[in-house]
Structure formats: C-alpha cells, structure tokens
Amino acid sequence: MDFDFTSLFAFILFGLTIGVVYGIVALGISLIYSGLDIVHFAHGEIYMFGAFFGLVFSEHMGVPYPLAILSAMVCTGLLGIVIERVFYRRLTRAGGGYTVAGMGMIICGFGMSVVLQNIAYLSWGADAEPFPVDLGEPFQFGDISLPKSYGLTAVIALLLMAVLHFFLKKTKIGLAVRAVAANKDIAFLMGINVPLMISLIFGLACALAAAAGVLIGPMQSVQVEMGYLMLMKAFAAAVVGGFGSLPGAIVGGLLVGIFENLGAAYISPNHKDIYAFLLLILVLMVRPSGLFGVEVRVKA
C-alpha cells in the first residue's frame, strides 16, 4: 500500500484543531502557574463546567453560539474566582510554590476537582450530551472536508490568544498583572491591588478553559468525565512548551494534538489517550525545560 499523504495531512489538520483546544486550556494553567505559583489540578473540571454552561446557554436558553461562548466564559470565570477566593486564598497566603503549603495546594486542587465533577454529575447526569451546532457545510481542502466547527475553533482560539496578548502587553491592568506575577510584595508597594489582580488572573484562566470547553462541545459530546483527560493533556501541553510559558502552552498544545492523532492513526486508536502522557515523559527525559526553555529553578 502506498503511503497516503492526503490522509497524513488530514490527521495533522485534525490534530492541529484539537491541539488548539488543548493549547487554550494549557494557556490557562500556565497563566495561573506563572502568576500565582499554583499548579491548578482542578482546571480540567473548570473546563468541563464551561462546556456545560455553554450547553445550557445554547441549548436550553436558545442563546446564539458565539454569545453562548461569551456567557459561559463569564460564568466560569466567576465560578473560578469564587473557588480561589474561598479555598485557595487561605493556602496561598501561607506561601505558594513548592513548600509544604504548595503540596497542600495540589491536594486541595485534586480534591476540588473531584468535588466539581460530582456536582456536575448531580446537576447534569452521567450521560454524554450532544452539543449540536449547525454551522453549515464543512470546508473543503482538496479531498479533505473539515467541519466548520473545527475551523471556527481555530479562529476563535487565535482571537482569544491575540486578545490575551494585547491585554497583558498593552493595557495598564495587564501591566499590573505582570507585576503581580513577577513579585507580589513589590507590586503591592507600588500601589497595585494585589488580591484583585490575583482574582483577575484566576478568573481569566478559568474563562479560557470555559472557552475551550464550549469550542470542543460540537466536536465531541459533553460529559462529566471529560475534565480529567483534558487536564492530563493540557499538563502535557504545558510541559512540552515549557511550564509557565504562555506561547509555549499553545505550541505544546498543537504538538500534543498532532502527536496524539498520528499515534491513533498509525499505532493504535484504542490507546489514543495515553500518547499525551508518553510525550510528557519523553519531554521530561530529553528536554525538561520544554521547547521555550523556561528556566526551572528553586525559588528560595
């Protein structure tokens, strides 16, 4: 059998579009990590909540799809802010990072992820819910037909990244966010409202996850257990790109998406969900600082 370049191209294309979604979730994780020194283990469940909010808005309330994305982002962002304020703030106040308090942070996030998953299960049930969005005929690239939802995902994802970049680099609040990420004490002395900025960072990251959830809805169905696998892949994406690096998270997401799709196509489709983990271990072995070379150091 000849090697089929068209299907290879198709696999890469589908990998890229799904990879964009991984990238957005990884972006949120990296944002929280670089801003607050927290590795957030409940981010997969935040993403799942975003998908369900989007489903509720677009299916049960008849909100048009783009507006549903925005509303889901706002709702999930608020949810994230409440969670951070009520639970995580008490722990981070005692010092984040990797100290014993940092361990508490990870355990707390892990517990929170189970709690959120269970709440979603109680509210929406365990069945996979379809998220039909009619966007018209698929795009045609030669022999490959790419559904509109995939194209839309890529466009919206790029838009989100551009907005985030603009916000962080060009606005005054973005400057304050970066100052808080660099050093909270000094930022506080400069008159920045640090607690508010922390809430903002967390809310932004959760809103990004929600956008990813609503975007992936039309491609796959929405179900309660989608968060855990996404978390695994988003972590892999973040590590591949360099943990804490924002452009790295996107590139890592794309790489994980392509790697996963090629593995599923040429090795074994049953083991699809394991490839991200293999890539994670591989990158940790070969180049632990990731593609974008974030210096991994101890904060003494």
């Binding site: 590795v39 283990f41 639970f87 008490r90 722990l91 990072g97 990797y98 014993v100 940092g102 361990m103 508490g104 990870i106 355990i107 707390c108 892990f110 517990g111 929170m112 992820s113 189970v114 709690v115 998953q117 269970n118 709440i119 299960y121 109680l122 855990y228 696998l229 978390l231 695994m232 972590f235 892999a236 590590v239 943990f243 049953n270 083991h271 969900d273 394991i274 991200a276 983990f277 994670l280 271990i281 940790l284 072995m285 632990p288 991994v296 150091r297 101890v298 003494a300």
Partner: protein, 345 residues
C-alpha cells in the same frame, strides 16, 4: 478529648515500656494480639467483616507507602493507584499465564512496579516543583486506560481466577486465612517504614522536605533521595497490588483503580496527617470503613470525600496525627520535663 484518649495513653505507655527491652518486642506483642482478630470477627457470623479487615490492611500498606514519598520526602504524587494497578496486574498475569506461584509472582510484581517507579520518577525528580505530581497524574489514568483497552491485561472483563497463595498444602483460600498473610505484610510494612524514618536515609528525606537547598548544602544528593523515596513507595504499592490481586475471589478489574480509589487513598493520608505513620494507619482504617459503609451513596461519595479533603487541607493540615501528637506525645514530653525539673529542684 483528654478523657477520650486516656486509655490510648495507657497503651502507648505499655508499648514504650516494651520497646525498652528491644525495639522489635512491641511489634511481636502487637502481632500476637492481632492474630485472633478473625476468630473474634467470625463470632459475629459474618465473613464480610474479615473481608473488610483485609481490604483495610491492604490500604494501610498503600497509605504507609504513600506517606514515605509524601510525608517524609515532601514530594507530591497523585497517581499512586496506577502503581498499585501495575503490581496487581503483573502478579496475576505471571500467576495465570506462566503458572508462577504467589511467592515468586509477588516479588516479581514488586520489582516491576519499582522499575515503573524509576521510569516515571527519574525524569521528574531532577526538576524542582510539581513535575512529579504532573507525571504521576498522567500515570494513574494512563495505566487504567491501558488495562481497559488491552485484552491481554484483562480489558473490560477483568482478570479472573487468580490462584490464591499456597504454602505446602495450606492454601490461603478464604478471607480468614488470607488475613494472616495481609496482616503480616502490613505489620512488616509499618515496621520497615519506621526503620526508614529512623535511618540516615529517612533523615535525608525529611531534610529535603523541610528545605531542598539547605539539604543539598549539607551534602544530601537531592535527586537520588527523592527518587529513592518514590521508588520505595512504589514497592509498597506493588506489594499491596499483588496482595489485592491474589485475595479470594481472585478477580481484578480496571474499575478497581479509578479516581475514586485515588481520592480515597489520598484522603487516608491527608486525614491521618501527612508524614505521620500512625496517622496514615488510622486514616486508612477510618476512611475505608466510611467508604465501605457508604457504597449505596456512591453518587455523592466523591463530593463528600473531596470536600473533606479540601477542608482538612485548609483548616487542619496536620490531620489526626497532629491531634495525637498534641494530646499524647506532647503531654508525655511535658510530664517528662516536669519530672526532670522536680528532680533537679
């Protein structure tokens, strides 16, 4: 609280007196005390309690092992159930496909689990921070998916008819006989854990937990010791997995290794107090009994367990072990100091 703990203080005094003869004496005495437990339980006429005890003992082994990497060394792992699954599957496959006896299959499973620990741990421990947690999160779920989709590893039907262990003609084929095996294993596990804590290696672990930089300045090889702690706990998990697989009725399924089991295990360690060996044991007993008695509320079980875990971490990070330390151990120190100052005066 004082009234509640008073009988325990007597017990602690008794065992400490025994320990003055030789370190191992209290363990032997406790072992003899625990031997007739299944007879007492079977007097209730329900084998189920003995089964429960066996499961608790296996989880004690797991939680004591997890405490070594987490409590002593301060490294976070969240995928321990994956290592447990590796141990269980390896041991049962060796026993079924190659006819290995339990006594060969279990050490082999322990070795394989240790190797898996090295493969996962080696790249992660060189780095600072949460990389071990990231890698093990993937491990836990990947192992489960691997088992679930690979027919040779049991797939959706699980592995059945795993032969029970056997010594000569004595077969550990019911819960009561199996109790002696797991109880011995759990006792050895706890004893070894104390030995590790007391040794130079254990002190190196604790130095790393308190301050990585200070530990490395004092000549402790930080990555090697982190890896050692992780691999030791992987060995514990492998042993627990093998013991679980061979327990009658000899059936394992990938649903035995889900995230709820992981949460249960984490809760045991957190509730008992991270870094407190007896805390881990007490946590395992309490949490598993709660877990088993609330199975009919499976739909809100994760919620409850997760919420307890979050609240414990936020409001009571020392866990039950902290309470024990405050009311039993500290009181003893206070008493000793008073006696000393009386003698001096």
């Amino acid at each position: 609280m004082n009234l509640l703990l008073a009988p325990f203080r007597g017990l602690v005094d008794f065992f400490q007196a025994l320990a003055r003869i030789h370190r191992i004496v209290p363990w032997l005495v406790a072992y003899v005390f625990l031997l007739p437990l299944p007879e007492i339980l079977s007097a209730t006429g329900n084998d189920y309690y003995i089964y429960l005890t066996n499961r608790i003992l296996i989880f004690i082994l797991l939680s004591v092992g997890l405490n070594i990497v987490k409590g002593f060394c301060g490294q976070v792992t969240v995928g321990h159930i994956g290592l447990y699954a590796i141990g269980a599957v390896t041991s049962s496959l060796l026993a079924i496909n190659y006819g290995w006896p339990f006594w060969a299959a279990m050490p082999a499973a322990v070795v394989v689990t240790g190797l898996a620990g090295i493969i996962i741990g080696l790249p992660s421990v060189r780095l600072e921070g949460a990389y071990l947690a990231l890698a093990t999160l993937g491990l836990g779920e990947s192992v489960r998916i691997m088992i679930a989709v690979t027919p040779a590893l049991g797939s959706s039907t699980g592995i059945m008819l795993i032969p029970p262990p056997q010594v000569g003609s004595f077969v550990f084929d019911d819960f009561q006989k199996y109790y002696y095996l797991v109880m011995t294993a759990a006792m050895i596990g706890i004893y070894l854990s104390f030995s590790i804590l007391r040794s130079a290696t254990g002190r190196a672990f604790m130095a790393i937990r308190e301050d990585v930089i200070a530990a490395s300045v004092h000549g402790i090889n930080v990555p090697a010791n982190k890896l050692l702690a992780f691999v030791i706990s992987a060995l514990y998990a492998g042993a627990a997995g093998a013991l679980f697989a061979h327990m009658p009725p000899g059936f394992i399924h990938h649903n035995n290794f889900t995230i709820i089991e992981m949460v249960t295990l984490l809760l045991m360690v957190v509730m008992g107090g991270i870094g407190h060996i007896w805390g881990g044991v007490i946590g395992a007993i309490i949490v598993y009994i709660i877990y088993d008695n609330t199975l009919e509320f499976y739909h809100i079980q994760p919620l409850t367990f997760g919420l307890i875990m979050v609240l414990l971490v936020v409001f009571m990070p020392q866990g039950i072990g902290g309470v024990i330390d405050r009311y039993l151990v500290t009181k003893r120190f206070v008493k000793l100091r008073e006696e000393k100052s009386d003698g001096a005066a």
